[in-house]
């Protein structure tokens, strides 16, 4: 459904909603995976991101997102210098991720104190984004809602337990997707929530001994 405020908006740093605002949101989402500004980041640009990214400030927007700047933050313009000051060691590479990949795609590999994450995402236009892969797992995250990603042992009753914890924290689930690489292998869950999951809910999920890894992803777009 088209909203008036999608048409009259977003408020953003120029010049391109896809190459600048969308790129910034991808950086912001990646940052959320490790819960802070990374110490190092490899940004592999594909397609139009690689060809026209520099002229559109895609590099500044991606790094700005990793620093926690939102699409309307004027510091995006100086993000590369700010990254140096804040000890974020970034590197860009041009690559071909797949012939069929969306033209505005980036793979972001980041690390903070040994905590690593890899994310593959695209900017779809008008500032909208789609994350397709986290740590090699196929996902679909838009950043329009607060999202929890979680890797758990493939066992019975795990969904009931997890949704129970969220319900106890008064968090309503908007969508839930479950995938696994093989039977008995790791299960990968993407849970979109209407409310922002508090830290305590995250800790309870992490405390489950069959949950290998979990991260909260911030809501980075939408009203």
């Amino acid at each position: 459904m088209v909203s008036l405020l999608d048409i009259i908006g977003p408020v953003m740093v120029g010049p391109s909603s896809s190459h600048t605002a969308g790129a910034c949101r991808l950086g912001l989402l990646a940052r959320g995976l490790i819960g802070g500004t990374p110490q190092s980041g490899l940004l592999q640009l594909h397609g139009s991101f690689a060809r026209t990214g520099e002229g559109h400030g895609t590099d500044k927007a991606l790094v700005g997102g990793l620093l926690g700047f939102r699409p309307d933050d004027e510091r995006l313009r100086d993000a590369l210098q700010i990254a140096e000051r804040e000890g974020l060691d970034y590197k860009f590479e041009k690559t071909t991720i797949a012939d069929a990949a969306h033209p505005n795609t980036v793979r972001i590999s980041i690390e903070l104190n040994g905590n690593k994450a890899t994310m593959l995402g695209s900017s779809l236009g008008a500032g909208r984004i789609l994350v397709q892969e986290i740590d090699g797992y196929p996902v679909e995250v838009t950043g329009n809602l607060h999202t929890i990603v979680l890797v758990a042992e493939d066992r019975k009753g795990s969904i009931a337990r997890i949704t129970g914890i969220l319900a106890n924290h008064d968090i309503n689930i908007a969508t839930l997707r479950l995938t696994r690489k093989e039977r008995g292998g790791d299960a990968f869950m993407v849970i979109e929530c209407d409310e922002e999951p508090d830290r305590k809910a995250g800790e309870e999920l992490r405390a489950l001994d069959w949950v290998r890894w979990t991260r909260r992803l911030d809501k980075v777009s939408g009203g």
Partner: protein, 294 residues
Amino acid sequence: MYKALADAIRDAERDEKSLAQVALEAEARDQGRPIQDIRAALKRALDVMRGAIEKGLTGDLYSASGLVGGDAAKLRQNPNGPLAQTAFRDILTRALAVQEVNAAMGVIVAAPTAGGAGVLPAILTGLAKAKSVDDERVVDGLATAGLIGAVVAERASLSGAEGGCQAETGAAAGMAAGAATEMLGGTPSQVGHAVALTMQGTLGLVCDPLGGLVELPCVFRNATGSAIALAGIEMALSGITFAIPVDEVIDVMGEIGREMDVRYRETAGGGLAATPTGRRLAKERLYQIKRADG
């Protein structure tokens, strides 16, 4: 939100409301938000638009490539132009100002996109100033513009990559013309004619930016798009009607966009981008950006 402007116009005329009011009510229903909240968000957008105009008029702004910049100031300062002291020239100046801010990585409102972000603020704030229109009615104008843009998004496209420049500055001009027509006292049906009269003038416009950058000709297309919108407003407010209904004009814009060769849809493979000079400038300037970022 409405999927046809004809439906919104019918509801507005039946209930004796403005299109802005009808649009705000539909948005409140769709999003479950009070109208007051939506108006507040639109007012914030208006403030950002004004900020961008101000910055573009006073600042000495250049894009990373250096391909565009400094032209809003030229237009503003030239004392001898045939349109000196007119709202028309003030509006062209405002459109360039916003786009120069955009190209220089300043803050703008994508309305409907960043590439077409100059037209709506230029027309609404320029005419509001010339005709002493208060902010409440300018905010109404943004709501009407949002309604028109939503219908274009639904029936055609708002993306240069999908529909060429007719879908970006063309749509922006249609939105601005309809919004301003209502802001200046036009009826809902005159708003429809203003959009049709404006968008018929941008049909077929290709998206051909040098090097794929939102700079050249994008900055100037916002000025010329504003000029076409002003023609649409003037004609509609004079009672001129356009025989093809506005929703059909929007549909045909979508159809032309789908038929348009990919070279003319933001890929820099055709149009001005592919001229000998366009190719040479893009190559030189992209190299320059790379060196500057070092």
